[in-house]
C-alpha cells in the first residue's frame, strides 16, 4: 500500500510554533512566514512525485495567504464606502435569544443591538449557512473521492489549464497538486466558517459594517468551498476539464422515458449518482433504466455520464414527484423538498437518503445487505432507507427500480382529467391561494377555469414554471383542492412540449481562452461577461432568464451560466424550435454560451476573472487577494445575475462575488435577502480612483453603479446589466461599445436615452456614434466636462505614506 502525506507543512525559523498552517496566528501571521522555504514530509512508503511541484517555483507570496476576516477588512470597508448596505428588514423583530423577541423598530434589543447591525448579522448568518452548504458538501465529496481514488490522485486538468484552482491559489497561497492537498484548504475554510458563525451569537459584533465585512468573508470562503468541490470532482471523476464543446443532453419532463424503470436523483452531491451510474454501467443496465435528476445533481451526473437526463431545476420537483414517474427517488443534499419522503410515499416510490444532511428519519441501512434493504422496501416494511455508501446506493436503487417499475405502473400517471376538474370545481374563489402565492400569480383563475373544464390558464402557468409548484396555495386552500395535481396533470398532458436540451457543464475556462479574451475584455471590445446563476425563484417564470441570456448573446457578450439558471436557459426555444445551446457555441468568447456546470462550478466564474488578472495581466495570485479583487473590480466588465436566487447559498455566492469586485443583480425576491449594496451615483466624490501609474486621484464614474441590486422586472434588470458592465479601464472604443448597448437597451425598454449616460463619458471619443447628437444634448444639459482617462485604476490606498 502506498502512503504519502501530501500536506506540505511550511515553517519558518522565526515562528517556531506556527505548525498548523490552517490556523491563523493571533499575530505571527506574517508575510515572511509564507515566503520561507517549504519543507515537505512524507511517511510510509514514499512515492516519487513527478507532477510539477510548486515548491520548485520561486513564487512571491503576497500579504494575505489564508486571510482571516480582519486581514481583508480594509478592502471590505472600501467597497462598503462606495456601496453602503441598503437594509430592508424582513421582520422588525429579533428572535435569536430568549431575551427576545425584541422589537427593533427605532429601538435597540435587550442585547443592545440595533436594526442595522441585526440586518448585517442576518446577512452574515445567511452567508455562513450558504457557505456551509457548499463547503460541507465539498468536504463530503473530497473525502469520498479520496477514498475512491487515493489522496495522491493528481489535480491536473491537462495542458490547456495551468491554473486549476485560481481561488485556492489566491487565497491559500498555493495550488493543490493532488486531492490530498485540497484538505489544507478545506481545513482553512472550516476554521474560518466557525469564527464567522460565532460572530452571529448574541453579544458579539455590534457594527453593521463589520457584520458586512464578515459576510463578505463568508462569501469568499464559500467560493473556496465551491472550488474545492468542483476541482475535486473534475479531477477524480474525469468530468469535462474545460472543453468548450461538451455534448448536449436531454432536458425536460418530456425527455424522460416513462416506460422504463426510472431512478430520480435530487440534490447536489454527485456521490450517489456516481454509484448509480457505475452500477448501471458495470451491469449493462444503461439502456434498460432511465436515470434522471433534478437540481445540480442532475447537471453533475450528466458531466459524468451523458446518458443521464436532466428533468429540470428545483421548480420541477413537486411537479415531477406528483407525476409518479420516478420509481426510486434518491436524495442527497440541498434544495430538496423537505416533504420528499411524503410525496414519494404518496406515489409508492421508494426513497433512498444518502447523506448525513438529509436522513429523513429513515433507518440507517448502510451496513445491511443489499437484498435485505430491497426486500424491506418492496414489502412495504420500510418506506425507504438511509444508505451512506454511494456504491450500495447504486445497487439498491437499481434493484428497486427494476422491481417497482412493474408494480407501480398504475401509479405512474395522475388521476383522469375529469377527476381533476371535479376537484377544481370546488373552488369558491376565496382568493387565498393568490394571496399566499409568493408571486401572487393568478392561480385562482386557473383553478376556477379548470373547474369549468378550461385548462388553458393553468397551462400558461405551467409553462416556463410561472408557477414553480412551491405548494403554498394548495396548503392554504380551504377546499383542499389538489392544485399541485392539477399542475402535474398539465405537464403529463404536454409531455411533448417539455423536451429541451442543455450543454453538459464544462467546468473551468481554459488558459488559452483567457489569453484570447483578456485584452478585449479589459478594454471593452467584448462588452462584458454576464453570468446567469442561481435558483428558480423567478418573479415571472423561467423564460425571463433565457430572454436575458439571448439578448446579451446576440449583443456579443460572453454569457456564462450554471445550475438551475443553465437549465432555465435550456428550457427556452426560438420559433424554429432551437434552444440557446443549439444556437450559440460553448466557447468562452463573444457570443459564447458557457454552462460551467453545477452550483459548485460557480467558482469558475470568479475563477476566470482571476485568471484574466494572472494570465493576461501577469498579476501574481498567491496571497494577493486585494490586488486581484481591485484588478477585477476596476477592469473586468462582469456582472452576475441571480434572477431566481432564493437560497442562503445564493446569498453566499453573491457576497463572495461582490468581494471579488463583481456586481450582482438579483430578481425582486432578492429584496427579501434584506440587504443590498447600492452605490450613489449622485455623490460624485464616491467614485474617485487612484491611477497607479501616477499616484494621482482621478474622477471616476459609477462603474459598477451598484454592487448588489434587486430589479423589479426583467426589463429593468437587462438595462442595469448592460450598465454594470462598464469599467474604468474601457478604452474609448470599448466604452462606446458598452454605452451603445446600454443606450440601445434603455431605448428598447424605457423608450429614451438614459439621462445618466453623461456620467460615463470621459471625453467625446466615448460617445457612441449612433447616438452622438442625443448624447451631446444630454452632456450639455448636465454641465458635462471632459475628464482624464485613468490608466491603472485602483481603489486601494496607493501610493501610501506610512
Amino acid at each position: 500500500m502506498n502512503i504519502k502525506i501530501n500536506n506540505i507543512i511550511k515553517t519558518n525559523n522565526e515562528v517556531g510554533d506556527n505548525l498548523t498552517p490552517n490556523s491563523i496566528k493571533p499575530k505571527d501571521f506574517k508575510v515572511d512566514f509564507w515566503k520561507s522555504k517549504n519543507i515537505e514530509f512524507s511517511f510510509g512508503e514514499i512515492i516519487e512525485d513527478n507532477s510539477p511541484d510548486s515548491r520548485d517555483e520561486e513564487t512571491f507570496m503576497g500579504p494575505t495567504p489564508k486571510p482571516s476576516g480582519t486581514d481583508l477588512r480594509s478592502w471590505d470597508m472600501k467597497l462598503l464606502e462606495r456601496y453602503p448596505p441598503f437594509y430592508a428588514p424582513f421582520c422588525d423583530m429579533c428572535c435569536l435569544c430568549t431575551f427576545g423577541k425584541c422589537d427593533l423598530t427605532g429601538k435597540k434589543g435587550a442585547c443592545g443591538i440595533d436594526i442595522k447591525a441585526q440586518q448585517g448579522r442576518f446577512a452574515l448568518l445567511t452567508c455562513c449557512i450558504g457557505a456551509a452548504a457548499h463547503s460541507a458538501h465539498s468536504r463530503h465529496l473530497l473525502e469520498y473521492l479520496i477514498h475512491k481514488c487515493g489522496s495522491d490522485h493528481p489535480v491536473d486538468f491537462g495542458n490547456n489549464i495551468d491554473i486549476e484552482a485560481p481561488i485556492m491559489r489566491t487565497l491559500i497561497g498555493k495550488a493543490p497538486k493532488t486531492l490530498g492537498d485540497i484538505r489544507e484548504s478545506m481545513d482553512y475554510i472550516e476554521e474560518e466558517n466557525l469564527h464567522l458563525l460565532s460572530t452571529c451569537h448574541t453579544g458579539q459584533e455590534g457594527n453593521h459594517l463589520d457584520f458586512e465585512s464578515k459576510a463578505f468573508h463568508a462569501g469568499l470562503m464559500d467560493h473556496i468551498g465551491m472550488e474545492i468541490g468542483d476541482v475535486s470532482q473534475i479531477a477524480a471523476l474525469d468530468l469535462p476539464k474545460g472543453e468548450a464543446n461538451t455534448p448536449l443532453v436531454e432536458l425536460g419532463i418530456g425527455a424522460i422515458d416513462h416506460d422504463k424503470p426510472v431512478i430520480l436523483c435530487i440534490g447536489h452531491n454527485i456521490a450517489p449518482g456516481v454509484g448509480i451510474v457505475d452500477y448501471l454501467e458495470d451491469n449493462d443496465f444503461e439502456d434498460e433504466i432511465e436515470l434522471c435528476g433534478i437540481c445540480c445533481t442532475s447537471i453533475d451526473i450528466t458531466r459524468y455520464s451523458d446518458r443521464a437526463k436532466v428533468v429540470g431545476p428545483i421548480s420541477k420537483q413537486l411537479k415531477f414527484l406528483k407525476s409518479g414517474v420516478a420509481d426510486v427517488v434518491v436524495v442527497d443534499e440541498q434544495c430538496i423538498r423537505s416533504d420528499v419522503l411524503e410525496e414519494a410515499q404518496k406515489k409508492g416510490a421508494a426513497l433512498i437518503a444518502t447523506t448525513d444532511k438529509m436522513c429523513l428519519g429513515l433507518d440507517d441501512r448502510t451496513n445491511d445487505p443489499v437484498d435485505a434493504i430491497v426486500a424491506d422496501i418492496i414489502s412495504k416494511k420500510d418506506d425507504g432507507a438511509l444508505i451512506l455508501d454511494p456504491e450500495k446506493v447504486g445497487e439498491v436503487a437499481t434493484k428497486l427500480s427494476l422491481s417497482l417499475s412493474k408494480s407501480r405502473k398504475s401509479l405512474k400517471s395522475l388521476p383522469d382529467m375529469d377527476k381533476i376538474q371535479e376537484d377544481a370545481f370546488k373552488c369558491t374563489e376565496c382568493e387565498w391561494c393568490v394571496r399566499v402565492c409568493p408571486n401572487s400569480i393568478p392561480i385562482m383563475d386557473a383553478v376556477s377555469s379548470a373547474g369549468k373544464g378550461d385548462f388553458e390558464s393553468t397551462e400558461k402557468l405551467y409553462d416556463h414554471d410561472i408557477c414553480y409548484t412551491c405548494g403554498r396555495c394548495e396548503q392554504e386552500c380551504p377546499e383542499n383542492i389538489k392544485i399541485m395535481d392539477l399542475m402535474a396533470k398539465i405537464g403529463e398532458n404536454n409531455l411533448k412540449k417539455e423536451k429541451f436540451n442543455i450543454r453538459v457543464g464544462r467546468g473551468p475556462i481554459q488558459d488559452v481562452e483567457v489569453r484570447r479574451v483578456g485584452a478585449p475584455l479589459v478594454l471593452g471590445d467584448i462588452p462584458g461577461i454576464v453570468a446567469f446563476v442561481g435558483c428558480s425563484n423567478y418573479p415571472d417564470g423561467a423564460d425571463d432568464v433565457a430572454k436575458m441570456a439571448e439578448e446579451f448573446l446576440e449583443r456579443n457578450y460572453i454569457v456564462v451560466t450554471s445550475g438551475c439558471g443553465a437549465m432555465s436557459i435550456g428550457e427556452y426555444k426560438n420559433e424554429e424550435g432551437k434552444t440557446l445551446y443549439e444556437r450559440f457555441s460553448g466557447d468562452f468568447d463573444a457570443r459564447g454560451l458557457i454552462n460551467v456546470g453545477s452550483c459548485v462550478s460557480n467558482s469558475h466564474i470568479p475563477g476566470v476573472a482571476i485568471k484574466v488578472a494572472n494570465i493576461f495581466a501577469k498579476k501574481p495570485l498567491e496571497g494577493n487577494f486585494e490586488v486581484i479583487a481591485d484588478y477585477i473590480f476596476n477592469r473586468i466588465g462582469a456582472c452576475g445575475v441571480a434572477w431566481g436566487a432564493y437560497s442562503q447559498k445564493a446569498a453566499a455566492i453573491a457576497s463572495g462575488v461582490n468581494r471579488w469586485g463583481i456586481p450582482v443583480i438579483l430578481g425582486p425576491h432578492g429584496s427579501k435577502y434584506r440587504r443590498l449594496y447600492l452605490g450613489r451615483s449622485d455623490k460624485e466624490e464616491t467614485w474617485n480612483l487612484t491611477d497607479m501609474r501616477t499616484g494621482k486621484l482621478i474622477k471616476g464614474e459609477p462603474a459598477p453603479e451598484h454592487l448588489l441590486y434587486a430589479a423589479e422586472s426583467r426589463e429593468e434588470a437587462t438595462v442595469n446589466i448592460a450598465k454594470n458592465c462598464i469599467r474604468p479601464t474601457d478604452n474609448n472604443k470599448g466604452r462606446q461599445i458598452k454605452l451603445n448597448h446600454y443606450i440601445d437597451l434603455h431605448k428598447k425598454y424605457f423608450g429614451t436615452i438614459p439621462e445618466d449616460v453623461y456620467r460615463y463619458i470621459r471625453n467625446e471619443k466615448d460617445i457612441p456614434i449612433t447616438y452622438k447628437n442625443d448624447v451631446k444634448e444630454i452632456l450639455e444639459r448636465n454641465d458635462w466636462e471632459p475628464r482624464e482617462l485613468v490608466m491603472e485604476p485602483t481603489i486601494l490606498d496607493f501610493p501610501r505614506d506610512e
Binding site: 437594509y87 429593468e716 424605457f750
Partner: protein
C-alpha cells in the same frame, strides 16, 4: 381579525408596528399636510385603468412621479412625465435625509406608492419604516401594506376604483 387590514400577503406581517388603515379621506388629509410629497408608481400602472388614475391623481395633487421597474416607458409613451428609478434605488435615496430630491428640491416628507410588486414594495416600505423617520409612507394599492405608515385596505376592484376616484378631488 379584520381581513381588510391583514397584509395582502399575510406573512408580510413584520412585528408590532402596523400601518394605519387609510381611507381616501385620511389619505387626502395626509397629502394636504405634506410639504413635499412624491408619487412612486410601479409596473402595475403600465396598464389601464391604473395609469389614468395615477395621471389624474398626480395632476390634482401636483405630485412628481417616480416610475419603478420599466414603467417609465408606458408613461413616457402616454405622455406622462416621470423620473425612472429602481424601487430599491428610490427607497435608498428616500432614506437619506440629505438627499437632494429628484429635482433638487430636497428630501420628501410624504411618499405615495402604487402599483409596485407587492413584496418588493413591502421591503422598500420596511426600509423607510426603519430608516426614514423624516417621511411618511402611504400606499393606495388595493392591497393592505402593513409596512407603510398608512395604507388602503385590501379591496376588490370596484371598491378600489371608488377609492381612487375619490383621490381625484382635493
Amino acid at each position: 381579525m379584520n381581513d381588510r387590514v391583514i397584509p395582502w400577503q399575510p406573512t408580510v406581517i413584520a412585528g408590532p408596528k402596523q400601518a394605519l388603515l387609510a381611507t381616501p379621506e385620511t389619505a387626502k388629509l395626509m397629502l394636504k399636510k405634506a410639504k413635499r410629497p412624491l408619487f412612486v408608481v410601479g409596473p402595475y400602472a403600465k396598464n389601464e385603468p391604473l395609469m389614468s388614475h395615477v395621471k389624474e391623481i398626480a395632476e390634482i395633487w401636483d405630485l412628481p412621479i417616480v416610475t419603478t421597474a420599466d414603467t417609465f416607458k408606458s408613461f413616457h409613451d402616454n405622455g406622462i412625465e416621470s423620473d425612472s428609478y429602481g424601487i430599491v434605488e428610490i427607497a435608498n435615496l428616500l432614506k437619506d435625509p440629505e438627499w437632494e430630491g429628484i429635482k433638487g428640491e430636497g428630501q420628501n416628507d410624504l411618499v405615495l406608492f402604487v402599483g409596485c410588486i407587492y413584496y418588493i414594495a413591502s421591503q422598500g416600505l420596511s426600509t423607510l419604516k426603519h430608516f426614514a423617520p423624516h417621511l411618511k409612507t402611504l400606499t393606495i394599492c388595493k392591497y393592505f401594506h402593513s409596512n407603510a405608515d398608512a395604507s388602503f385596505p385590501n379591496m376588490k376592484d370596484e371598491e378600489w376604483e371608488k377609492y381612487l376616484t375619490k383621490m381625484k378631488t382635493k
